[in-house]
Symmetry: C2
Subunit: 153 residues, 2 copies
């Protein structure tokens, strides 16, 4: 049953997708947090919160997928798959929202003046937003793949 | 076949959803454009562009639904429904992105200082973002309803 849809829960494609999500969301969090005072802007706090939700979610699913690929294929139930799809959808919307907000605020800070944001800092904000976009894309695509698998269960 | 899924293309639920989309996206555009200079911020231009795409799309689908409800029920083909679902998904992502960006920029402008944005103007930006959020929600839900109908065709 796992072999039918490439990228659906339990396949090696899904493992790659989840691994990418984990990497990109960690990168986004690190670019935003490390040595930067992000507390002063609501948007950046929102990004950090969302990434703090996305990282454990992807880590758990990476472990489940790795178990399914390398040790013993999991027996997915319809209810569990539905929960995973809904979680993925919600987290992908949250990370899209965070990425867009961060990108627009970074752009505005660049426009408004150098006093709010030295150039090096602003490019880090932009990098963080780009990583969040990539994480959104991967998480949305694994949600779609799983949705494709749902009627077969 | 139309009666199976409430809210799917061709039903009266879908007509209500599309009508709501049209209203909210028009309201968002008007709050942003009317008597306001929005050109100076990239984000607001993005919102206006996205709403300029969402409004004609919803208007066409309102007309199709109204025809289907009041005159003669349409014979939906799988290909057409798939096109509608993909269009809805893309537009809902774009409007979510625009809404988040507008909301965060309006919030930042309120924080940074009154010189960039008098209070009355900022509340209009926020109202516009709220309308864009509502339009996103409706357009995403009609996309989900149509996705539900797809396997039945």
């Amino acid at each position: 049953m796992e072999g039918q849809v490439p990228g659906a829960m339990g396949s090696s494609g899904s493992l790659a997708l989840r691994f990418g999500q984990t990497c990109f969301s960690c990168a986004s969090l690190l670019f935003m947090c490390l040595d930067v005072e992000f507390y002063s802007y609501t948007t950046f706090c929102f990004l950090v919160t969302v990434m703090g939700l996305v990282i454990p979610w992807s880590l758990v699913l990476v472990l489940a997928d790795a178990y399914s690929v390398f040790v013993k294929s999991l027996d997915l139930q319809r209810r569990n798959l539905l929960m995973i799809i809904i979680g993925d959808l919600v987290l992908s919307f949250l990370s899209l929202a965070a990425a867009c907000s961060t990108a627009s605020v970074a752009d505005l800070l660049l426009d408004v003046g150098k006093s709010f944001c030295p150039e090096k800092l602003c490019s880090r904000y932009q990098l963080s937003a780009a990583m969040a976009f990539l994480s959104w894309f991967l998480s949305f695509s694994s949600s779609l793949f799983n949705l494709w698998l749902l009627p077969a269960l």
